[in-house]
């Protein structure tokens, strides 16, 4: 990672750490939610942006992490020490099973099979009393560990921030490791990877399982934050939304997932704002959708490509066109 990227990441995390000093309870709650989405988006970035596997069922792993948090919690509240790993493990195990089967397919078939597995999980919680059906279930007592009481908004904020930072650093290290380079090779040219001697299936399965486990972490945090889970957490809308986040931010960059999660959630907040749009705010889907279409049309490399676009405008246009995409890719 070069200096400017590192500076960006450090600045983002410093701002996030300072945010509760400036913001009220609404602001803290909002950014907690966005950070959970950012972890979720990072999990999908590992699959889509790094390995080239377009998974359209990521919400299932998120939802399983969330449901596990509620279903496993005893009435008096659980200890973080075992509840968090249990939720991550539950999502990871489901991802291992889904991945083992769906990774036998490619391209559009893979998209459809992952969607089908997610819908399967969705209907299990939607149509059976096991998870409270369509109403969902409440988390009666939030998990804690000593002074780390996640029932307090400030503590939950700090804990979520730590999880986000941990996930970001972990994935950053992973992507530069031999394992991560192999995943990148699979994205760019899987046939060549096989010809040089990589059995690509175990690599993809490991990435898929890991991605599901990280999505489970995000789901756990979401359930603890909201104190309630419902089947919508596993719906394809959420799988689609998280895909839009990473595309909006810029595929192929961990920072893209971070930027995308913030951009998506803040845009949604903006278009839902009655103060700005009055009665029209209830049609917020329209404004959000059009803005995203506009962004993707004008910025094919995502928001993260914006500085390069500006440089292109200012400096030699023809040169930038020819050299930038390849050089930028190479710098990844």
């Amino acid at each position: 990672m070069d200096r400017s990227k590192l500076a960006f990441v450090v600045a983002v995390f410093a701002l996030l750490a300072a945010w509760p000093l400036a913001a009220g309870s609404y602001g803290v709650d909002l950014v907690t939610k966005i950070m959970v989405y950012a972890i979720f988006a990072l999990s999908l970035e590992l699959l889509v942006g790094t390995t080239g596997l377009v998974c359209f069922g990521q919400a299932a792993f998120f939802g399983i992490g969330a449901y596990a948090a509620v279903l496993l919690s005893p009435a008096e509240g659980a200890s973080l020490v075992w509840l968090l790993p249990a939720c991550v493990l539950a999502a990871g195990v489901y991802a291992l099973a889904v991945g083992a089967l769906s990774l036998r397919t490619k391209g559009v078939y893979f998209i459809m099979v992952t969607l089908a597995f997610a819908q399967m999980a969705y209907y299990v919680v939607h149509d059976t009393p096991f998870g409270g059906g369509t109403d969902g279930i409440y988390l009666t007592a939030k998990p804690s560990l000593g002074v780390l009481d996640l029932d307090r908004a400030g503590v939950l904020y700090g804990f979520t921030l730590a999880c986000l930072a941990g996930t970001f650093v972990f994935l950053g290290l992973l992507l530069r490791s031999p394992f991560g380079r192999a995943l990148a090779g699979i994205r760019v040219n899987e046939q060549r990877m096989r010809a040089t001697g990589f059995s690509t299936y175990p690599y993809k399965l490991a990435a898929f399982t890991l991605s599901g486990a990280i999505a489970g972490l995000a789901g756990f945090l979401f359930a603890v934050k909201d104190g309630v889970v419902n089947p919508e957490l596993m719906s394809w809308h959420l799988s689609g939304a998280v895909l839009v986040m990473i595309i909006l931010g810029g595929l192929g960059h961990l920072r893209g997932a971070l930027i995308g999660a913030f951009a998506f959630a803040l845009l949604q907040e903006f278009f839902q704002s009655v103060a700005v749009f009055g009665a029209f705010a209830k049609h917020w889907h329209l404004g959000l959708g059009l803005t995203i279409i506009g962004c993707v049309a004008l910025l094919p490399r995502g928001l993260i490509g914006l500085p390069a676009r500006w440089r292109e405008r200012l400096g030699g246009r023809a040169f930038a066109r020819a050299a930038l995409p390849a050089a930028e890719e190479a710098a990844r």
Binding site: L173, L174, R176, S177, P178, F179, G180, R181, A182, A184, G185, V188, N189, Q191, R192, M193, R194, A195, T196, G197, F198, S199, T200, P202, Y203, A206, A323, A326, A327, E329, A330, R332
Partner: protein, 249 residues
């Protein structure tokens, strides 16, 4: 000294429905020699390479690599056992630098999938193999260039370098000279002549002058079957080859 057979195909056949793409082809690749396979478009040369490398399974027949029967081995396993191949159309990683293209190939031999904290770009063992392979293919000056920005000839050199980085015993090269200029062709032929020592090379190539200059053995295929096999002089003298293939030369 008897030459050591590194790769042996026996009675290899591949059918696509009613079409017999490769019809009972047998051939041997020896260490220290270049075995060229020539034939018109559609003669089954690329399919033969795919059968030998494990990309597709044969309908019948057997492949032996370094004395082991590898007919049922998947391609990655054969590659790890020392079978390297290049492709007719460039299959490099265009967005990666030249050095990373080679390093990733070298990593195939030492995969270390669990060293998640290690920085691959500073992994000396794979980097050394990558630099060495790039140097042998004449790419030392271009190590940091994104592979997608190389000239066509340089991409062909990179194909070979990536092959070499996996430290193979056997090289299956699918038209390494395709689309190359005269000077680039000379450089590639010099490289092949050098690689011959220590490797067994299968060369599929359309450039007849090059083939007759460099090959130690030539196998001629027509419609999936071998019609002649022998030294360049034998093949040149063969009446069947003249009518079937060299007739228009």
């Amino acid at each position: 000294m008897t030459a050591q057979v590194l790769l042996r195909g026996r009675e290899l056949t591949r059918r696509w429905g009613g079409l017999v793409a490769v019809d009972r082809v047998s051939l041997e690749l020896e260490r220290g020699s270049v075995h060229a396979v020539i034939g018109t478009n559609g003669a089954g040369k690329s399919t033969l390479i795919n059968l030998l490398s494990g990309e597709i399974a044969p309908s019948s027949g057997e492949v032996q690599l370094l004395g082991s029967d590898v007919t049922h081995w998947p391609q990655p396993k054969r590659a790890r056992a020392g079978l390297g191949r290049s492709y007719q159309r460039n299959t490099i990683y265009p967005s990666f630098g030249v050095i990373e293209n080679c390093r990733l190939a070298a990593q195939a031999r030492r995969q270390q999938p669990w060293g998640w904290w290690r920085d691959a770009a500073r992994d000396e063992s794979t980097l050394a193999a990558a630099r060495d392979a790039a140097a042998r293919a004449g790419l030392t000056a271009l190590l940091d260039r994104p592979a997608g920005l190389l000239s066509h000839g340089q991409k062909r050199q990179l194909e070979i370098a990536m092959c070499l980085a996996t430290a193979p015993e056997v090289l299956l090269l699918d038209e390494p000279l395709a689309g190359m200029g005269a000077e680039e062709t000379e450089r590639m032929l010099a490289l092949l002549a050098e690689l011959k020592h220590g490797h067994a090379i299968l060369l599929v190539e359309h450039d007849m002058d090059a083939v007759f200059r460099i090959a130690d053995r030539i196998t001629v295929m027509v419609n999936g079957a071998v019609i002649a096999s022998g030294t360049p002089d034998d093949v040149r003298a063969s009446a069947e080859v003249r009518t079937a293939y060299l007739g228009d030369h």
